[in-house]
Symmetry: D2
Amino acid sequence: MMKHVTTLTVRPYECDSYGHVNHAVYVNYLEHARMQYLHAANFDYKGLIRSGFFTFITRVDISYRSPAFADDVLEIETEPEDLRKVRGVMHQVVRRGEIVIAEAHVHWCVVNAEGRPSRPPSAFDMGGMAP
Amino acid sequence: MMKHVTTLTVRPYECDSYGHVNHAVYVNYLEHARMQYLHAANFDYKGLIRSGFFTFITRVDISYRSPAFADDVLEIETEPEDLRKVRGVMHQVVRRGEIVIAEAHVHWCVVNAEGRPSRPPSAFDMGGMAP
Amino acid sequence: MMKHVTTLTVRPYECDSYGHVNHAVYVNYLEHARMQYLHAANFDYKGLIRSGFFTFITRVDISYRSPAFADDVLEIETEPEDLRKVRGVMHQVVRRGEIVIAEAHVHWCVVNAEGRPSRPPSAFDMGGMAP
Amino acid sequence: MMKHVTTLTVRPYECDSYGHVNHAVYVNYLEHARMQYLHAANFDYKGLIRSGFFTFITRVDISYRSPAFADDVLEIETEPEDLRKVRGVMHQVVRRGEIVIAEAHVHWCVVNAEGRPSRPPSAFDMGGMAP
């Protein structure tokens, strides 16, 4: 399955009073990196939304290994760990050079307009995201 | 050990394009609730900082059960699950009435100015937070 | 016209690496206070949205007088300065006790689904917000 | 005086329940663009901090012209409008292609550790930022 890397630079307002990237901000970074993954996989996320489905994050398990600071250039690696038609798990690692800053397992499912886990039209098969 | 409940109201800017509280925002809510817990336990957090120590979050494992919306009144229950001198785990549950919105286990440790896990002066014994 | 005061407590994650409330966060605080104003005025904001209209902020002119810090209790006073059917200006002042922290003039207009300034059904007359 | 352009891509979590970039987020974008301006001008901002001074934003006057959406590529132009030794005004324009999204005047001053407007060592003359 595809492995994808997004690069971003820490912005000063993402840092807290310790001068570290605030620990909640990584959850945003991970979402950004997953969207970049979907773009790279040519997954039609806007089409999924128009079809009346969306993805719901059911669990984020993130471990913080080392702090990051303003202006740091971070690489976020995103790789599916389990990819089914309605749910899956992404493994994501945030690095600054060789140093692991954070590592996460993010669980998601596809839900219908009522918010119930539900299989989307086959064109939006998440299992089809892999190249 | 002490169980503590904080109440907050969802602000509109905390919601994303689905109209749901953005999933990263809960990580901020949990931090706020833990600080309220420390206040209620008379823990001198500013004194800890002045002594050259601070707390570092090492892991957040959060499960999202149900969405929350603007103006929702949420209760966040915070209870230590494991409370040692240098590290511990807090169990936190976010509810709207009877409905569980999210549930988390948050792991922390006390670190010194160099960021290494380190035992603070005994006045700041986290094990002493319980009433 | 009605003057309304909202109280909130600064949360630690709203502070930046200077230990001050980040200057963008006040823009969020002001939005929160305006929504509280609308609630207090019994303005049916959700009804406005259901009717296919919404409010668009066209200008925020905010002056920062003094920093605020984590745990500060802030009062935000909101008062219409100019209130027409399609547009208006709110005057908002953020205070900690007697100290003025920030002061803003916020310009808004009602727009239709295409985003064009447009008069909503008379039930949603903004001019009718005043008690 | 130097004119500088920063490019950024809107991240999904920066959008609110209308699907628009939240209006407070632009204030963060502007800060990011000003820091990029300072980098480009070889201004030693970290040195300024180490010397016991920092910059305080005294006023942001921002007009919103058109909404921006997730994945939009935005250009932010930053240009000093008035640049003195202790205070100044930056003019910033956010564009998507030819469309102006927002335009702002941002007033700042240099303050000492007590937060009082104060002239920094001449090495940090803001007036010296221009190339």
